[in-house]
Every structure is written in structure tokens, then in C-alpha cells.
Amino acid sequence: MGVTVLQPYPLPEGKSGAHIIDHLAKRLLSLGATHAGQFLVDCETFISTPQHGTPARAVHVLHNSEYPASTFSIIDNGNGKQVALVADSIFDLLMLKMTSTFTSKKQTKIESRGARFEYGDFVIKLGSVTMMEHFKGILIEIEYRPCVTLSYCWEMIREMLQGFLGINVAKEYPTYFTTQTIMNAMGQQQLHAKQNDIYEPMDTVKQYLEHFTNYRKHVQIHGAMGGGASSVGTVGGGGPGGVLLPSSVGMGGRS
């Protein structure tokens, strides 16, 4: 396990999600990365029926195929306090015991799935995000495995991202690492910079939750509806005749 950074990839006008994923996969392969299976991160949110006086609480239940035996949950008590929990995957069945208090908001079930690549010490995942089968966007996960502290390897991760994505990535640490609040000994919330902390699998999950929450708020539907998920299976095979971008984009050295 190392440090993971989640980076949304902006969709250019008029391009479909499938198209972009295909293009990024080809860039990775021509860099020398190898295709190493598929991945899936999903999120389901349960909301409590508000009782007199208490605000509605939300329990987010997430799974990450990188940790197949675990269920990650984060409860938001409605007053700004969050508690995170990692449990065996049977936790899902326990949630179902509470359906009269916590009801699943099925229409907001959201997931990111796609191909997984390995490139030296990096693991790169090209995820297309779908909610109720509707394509929402592209999330790129990049993990640098030999290190567990972001501040020591952020520059390297950033360089790698810029290299294969061809976009500019800000020099500052990603916002997830700089905007965390923790409860201090006096019970007050205070800002805590996470870039020097030891990275945990829960941090990956929390980053996904942040982005998923943004996508859920974002009602705009892109032109590429439903195109994302289906294309992923063919990545790596990517036979001739597939849609190619204009050569000006530069396919890892080929002109």
C-alpha cells in the first residue's frame, strides 16, 4: 500500500467519456505500462428518517475492489461530525437490518469502474463514473506504492500525472490533504494538514466520497451518456479500427 491521489479528468467539449478513456489507456500502454485487471469503487448512501430534534444522518457505504474483504463506511451526523469505519464485508448485511431507520437512496448509487494499469511503482486506474447507468465523468486514481506519506512523493506523482495526462496539475497538495478537520482534545474542530500523515486505505475511500458527492450535486449530464462503462472492457485489447484522436495529441512518442 502506498499513497493514492484521485484526479478528475476534465471532459473536452464534444468528446465522449469512452473516447477519452480509450485514448488515455493507449497513452499508458505506449509509455510501457501493463494492463493489470479491472477495478471498481462503489458507494451507496443510507439516510435516517429525521426524528424530532435530530437532523438526518447519512451513512455512506463504500467498497473498493483493491480491498475486497472490507466495507468502508462513513457516517455524517448532520452536525458536521464524521466517523469512519472499516469492517468486514458482512457489514452490508447488518446495514440491511436497519432499513426501517436507515433507508437506501437507490437513485444516488454511484460507482467508478474501469481498467487498472501498473507502471513500475505506480498503479493507475482509469475510472468512468456512473450514477444509475448515467455517465458522470472520469476519475483517475494514481498510487505510488513504495511510500506512505504524501509530502515525500507528491512531486513524483504530479510529474507522472502531467506526463501521461498531458494536463497541468497544480503544484499544491490536492485539496483533500489540506482541508481536513480533526477534533482536538477540547472537542473543537480544527484544520489539520494530512500530507505528513501515514496514508491509509480509508483516505482513498474518503477521496472517492468527496468526488462522488460533487458528481451527485452536479446535475449536468454530459453528451456521453452511458458510453463510459461499456468501453472499459475493451481497453488494452483496443484493436485496429478503434477511434483515434488526431495525431497532434501525441501518442507517447509516435508522431
Binding site: 479491472q38 466517523v83 469512519a84 469505519l85 469492517a87 431507520t101 460507482e111
Partner: protein, 216 residues
């Protein structure tokens, strides 16, 4: 090949019956003065693993959640090992079935290891403390059967770690249990045969909690 979701693998485990979700249970008790004899008998009968008998010292906290559509609150038990670093164990237990045709009590059961935020997590969900106690004793195993001989200790509120907490009674509780997937009826018979071998030191029985409800 598409990757299957966690929910899919879980329902696959349920439908194919390899998710252990039923607990078969027999219980009994033995006086402090006779517990040494039982320990010797168990050492002789049980599997001779390196750590046998394995000592344990756990704090069990039972949390309840009121459900709007039923009179019965949902109970979850969280166990934490005292004096050793181990994941917290959360356990759901269903209504016990005491069927005369079956040799043991049967109840649905779900065990789930968790990180240490679980009690805080449950409190935020709206769970409230129902009761807590400390169980201290030894665990033996024989095949897939688990045998525990433990002392139940009452907790003075706020003093979970305190050695001054007093035992509930002058005896040890003895439990014989197996957690198995649905449809393995022969487990009960296996347990009955084993329980026979502990007689007359301890009489392991199906205890019907509903009938104990009127006791003080």
C-alpha cells in the same frame, strides 16, 4: 471480464450457503470450586493446538437501536480484547429458536470485525448503550466446535479497566457453539455427542431466554 461488486459476492455467498450465519449453541455453568476438573477434562478432549487453552479477557458492550416499525430494538454486541491489540468484533444475534426436535439452540448470527471507531460510529447512528460486562476465561476448540469457560464480571460504570470489578456469581459459564452456514443440520448432533462427554461435570443445555425473562 467484468469485476463483480461486493454486494454481488455477498449474495453469492448467501445463496450458495458458504456464509456462516447460524449459531448452534449449548450453555451451562459450573461452580468455581469444580472448574479445575472441567479444564482438565477439556484439555484432554479438545484439539491439542499450540495455544490451547487460549486465554481471553474481553469487554462486551451491547448497543441498541430503536426501530420505528417494530417493538424489538436492534441489538448489536461489540467485543474488545482488553490488554491485547486486536480488531473490535461486532456481532448481531437473531431471536433464538428452541425447537424440541433439534439438539441445540439455533439463532442467526453475524460476526463482523471492525476498526476501533465502531462504538463512536454506532452512537452517531443513534444506538444507545444497553449493558456491558467483562468476560474472562479460556477458549478450547474441537474441530469446528468452540468451547469457552468464562467468568462474567460486572462493571462499575466508568471503570472498565479496573481490576476491582466484581464477578457476577460464584460460577463459570460454559458455552459450546458452532457458527455454520444454513443447512448443516448435523452440527447439532456433533455438539450433543460432545456435550455428553462433559457430563456430569457440566450439564450443557438449550437455554430458553424467554422463560428466564421473569427472573429478577
Amino acid at each position: 471480464m467484468a469485476i463483480s461488486s461486493a454486494r454481488e459476492s455477498l449474495s453469492h455467498a448467501l445463496t450458495n450457503r458458504f456464509l456462516p450465519n447460524l449459531e448452534y449453541l449449548l450453555q451451562g455453568s459450573i461452580l468455581d470450586s469444580a472448574v479445575e476438573h472441567l479444564m482438565h477434562r477439556l484439555k484432554g478432549l479438545c484439539d491439542n493446538v499450540d495455544t490451547s487453552p487460549e486465554p481471553f479477557h474481553d469487554l462486551e458492550v451491547c448497543m441498541s437501536l430503536r426501530q420505528s416499525q417494530s417493538n424489538q430494538p436492534l441489538l448489536l454486541r461489540v467485543r474488545r480484547a482488553l490488554g491485547r491489540d486486536a480488531p473490535f468484533q461486532m456481532r448481531y444475534l437473531g431471536q433464538p429458536e428452541v425447537d424440541i426436535r433439534r439438539p441445540t439452540l439455533v439463532r442467526s448470527c453475524m460476526d463482523c470485525a471492525c476498526t476501533n471507531g465502531i462504538l463512536d460510529f454506532l452512537s452517531e447512528m443513534g444506538f444507545r448503550l444497553e449493558f456491558e460486562y467483562i468476560a474472562k476465561g479460556y477458549m478450547f476448540r474441537k474441530g469446528r466446535m468452540k468451547i469457552t469457560v468464562s467468568k462474567l464480571i460486572k462493571i462499575v460504570p466508568g471503570k472498565q479497566q479496573d481490576m476491582a470489578n466484581e464477578p457476577i456469581s460464584q460460577s463459570y459459564i460454559v458455552e459450546l457453539s458452532v457458527v455454520a452456514p444454513t443447512g448443516q443440520e448435523n452440527v447439532g448432533e456433533e455438539m450433543r455427542v460432545f456435550a455428553e462427554q462433559l457430563k456430569p461435570l457440566v450439564q450443557l443445555e438449550k437455554i430458553d431466554y424467554k422463560r428466564l425473562g421473569n427472573l429478577p
